[in-house]
Amino acid sequence: MKNLSSNFKNVLLVIAGLLLAASCNTPGNAYKSGALAGDVASQVYVPPGEYDEFYAFMSGGFSGQISVHGLPSGRLLRIIPVFSVDAEKGYGFNEETKAMLNTSHGFIPWDDAHHPELSQTNGVTDGRWIFINGNNTPRVARVDLSTFETAEIIEIPNSGGNHSSPFTTENTEYVVAGTRFGVPYPQQDVAIDSYAENFKGMLTYISVSEEGDMDVAFQILLPAFDYDLAHSGKGKSHGWTFFTTYNTEEKATLLEVTASQNDKDYIAAVNWKKAEEYLAQGKFREVAANYADNEYDESTQMATSTMKNSVKILTPEDCPGLVYFLPTPKSPHGVDVDPTGEYIVGNGKLSADLTVHSFTKMLAAIENESFEKVVAGVPVLQFEEVVAGVVPEAGLGPLHTEFDANGNAYTSFFITSEVVKWKVGSWEVLDRAPSYYSIGHLMIPGGDSKEPQGKYLVALNKITKDRYLPTGPELCHSAQLYDISGDKMKLLLDFPTMGEPHYAQGISADRIQSKSKKFYPLEENKHPYATLGEKDARVERAGNNVHVYMTTIRSHFAPDNIEGIKVGDKVYFHVTNLEQDWDVPHGFAMMGANNAELLIMPGQTETLLWEPKTVGVFPFYCTDFCSALHQEMQGYVRVSPRNSDIAMTWKLGEDDPVQ
């Protein structure tokens, strides 16, 4: 006992000593702020009532959502639920949106959302939609930017870990989905050791119609490398997509070592225009598959999930000229195409150098058949024949590059924790700025499009440590805003983000602002259980199912007293918000409901299922402070025993019963 306690004291002393040392070593403000100079506050200050210049859409990573911030203020404007249920908004809990999260594995309430990608027209962001990938259970979602609601989620068959996704082509003809994890093809019970033999890697092209409807157009069967990131060509390279790979060693265990052995992995260059030709010629195999395509219909306000059962597969052996491999050093992460479409930057994450390929040289190498070898039917081009230049020893651990409108590139370096600015073409390093800490991706509004909008750069940092007041062991991720309008990058602002943003997209506000919907016109509400006026409010029983046709308007529900419900009933509250004004949602919360609340926008109908288990009288109420009499917006449901003969009645008001 004595020994133990004296040991404990010693430990305490050591800790106290360490704490003292740490407090002596606390870095000064100059270090923490990156030596901020001048009046940076005014550069990020957006006065009350005024708007930010840009929208920034950040992926939520393991939150499964997208968060929307304003730039330059960094203010959080909204969280859009995409792959994860959101009890606050009823998303994935109400009857209308459950189908959005359906997959071939059933209902999945979560995913890991990585890369938001704005739709483009002629290579320029157009503000119609934003796409995002679900990495865990391979999916791609489309979010409508007039409502900021998820409009469609499509599952990707024959895939595992949808990481190199959903990068768009120049006119949003396709968004892509390359698998990060090789999986047996077809999926089957095989030894994991047989990876190289039985596993495959699939690149998927999802077509996007004028209305936004997504479909799996075709898949390309390739070796089971890990397809990490992608970008499609633009301008002269329109028609091509570039995917980075690692684990070209094709290993399935201890990848941190086994998959880091090859000096060079590949960038897979896919000629999707060629793929279209092969499809037209019928050079595909139609293969059975099972995947969900879930669409939200704005007029019925309901999601429907359709299971699809086949997919067209192209193989390089049958389709010469479809895919080429460009050798690229050390497990490249991001692959980024400069605004002219000529340069393809491979961010070799275990390398100190950045490798830049030339599209023109690539075409020449293909023309001259300068092949090093052929892997699984795919010609590997000679490295020297395709490389345009190398940014030498720019830093350590390059992950991702974006561009400004003046021919400069900005690369994030995770290991050396910095952003490095360099000149496209001359490959000289122009400037470097530290990030706090360990930057992952970075974003410049329009920085992966034909027309970067420049001005700001956002660093999405992986490590936060001491940047904000501590909040226990778990900290928010931190973003940093840099002014890139001058020769030198200037750190302006730190701001916390939701989940773990893996990538972001920025767009000038005017491309979205004017299209933003204010409410849903009631006359366009085609929900099958809509109640378009208070006089139609009612309760209908069909066996054990009870349908409550309920309305909300400031500041009451109709009906607000319901009797005749019995234990064991399934009660569906179909609540229509009759308001027709901007920003007047009503909430609906039912005591004992096992799901969530409803948050109903003006003109919308949403449905909450409630299964009362005991007799009694249970209150419901409005959760969204809607008016001066919001607190009065409440009602009761009486639940009687199963065998009771209490009649079904409902009412609103004492002298003005609804019935």
């Binding site: 016109p521 308007i553 400031r554 308001e579 027709q580 004004d581 008016s627 001066a628 009499l629």
Partner: protein, 223 residues
């Protein structure tokens, strides 16, 4: 052959009738444009809530404006503004049709006192209409439900007829709008027509009683 002056005179002769026809045409505006506009301003309504009153309907800057105004009004127990329950919106159009008919008749008859009579009729109708509007406003502002959730003793909820007024948290602004102004111009035109007609009639008398003097004028002007 008509000299320039006689041409001018023949035009001058046509003026009253043309003016009267324009006055009648201006009344068509009542069926196209609002006659009155009431705007409510409050911090929560950065663009204001605007109600437009037509001869035959009540509208707003959006199809849902009236509903939104009614929702606000119900807290103080004000009756719902329901255009279907306002009979004036149904029979006012017929009054306007009749007045337009009378205006055309006046133009056909083309006598000064008919123009004057039409103008006076319009003034009386406009005064009655505005008085009726005032009565409705008074009714909405005073005839409040006993069970109103919000009761403010001595507060006036009656919107202004003309001008600006503070109604609890709202600034209410009420002024005539396009077709109201057009109707006003129609009245003015009818009186101008009357004045011109009288002058023309007097002039014609003078000319016929003294045609020599008239040719004298003509010669002097040619010299």
């Amino acid at each position: 052959m008509s000299s320039p002056l006689s041409f001018t005179i023949s035009c001058m002769k046509k003026y009253p009738r043309i003016l009267m026809i324009i006055a009648v045409l201006l009344l068509i505006g009542l069926f196209i444009f609002p006659m009155w506009r009431i705007t409510l301003l409050a911090p929560q309504y950065p663009n204001g809530v605007t109600m437009y009153i037509y001869i035959n309907k009540i509208g707003g800057d959006s199809p849902s404006t009236l509903q939104n105004i009614n929702i606000l009004n119900h807290y103080i127990g004000m009756k719902y503004i329901e255009p279907e329950s306002i009979p004036e919106l149904k029979y006012f159009p017929y009054i306007i049709y009749s007045v337009m008919g009378l205006g055309i008749l006046a133009a056909v008859i083309n006598k000064g006192k008919f123009y004057m009579a039409w103008g006076i009729l319009m003034v009386i109708l406009a005064a009655l209409g505005i008085y009726d509007f005032y009565l409705w406003e008074y009714d909405y502002g005073h005839n409040l439900s006993d069970t109103a959730p919000i009761k403010i003793p001595n507060a006036s909820f009656q919107p202004p007829l003309f001008g600006v007024k503070q109604i609890i948290n709202f600034t209410a602004i009420s002024y005539p709008h396009t077709s109201g102004i057009m109707a006003g111009i129609a009245i003015v035109l009818s009186f101008v027509a009357w004045k011109l007609k009288i002058r023309n009639e007097k002039y014609a008398e003078q000319v016929s009683s003294d045609s020599d003097a008239y040719s004298g004028v003509l010669m002097r002007s040619k010299a």
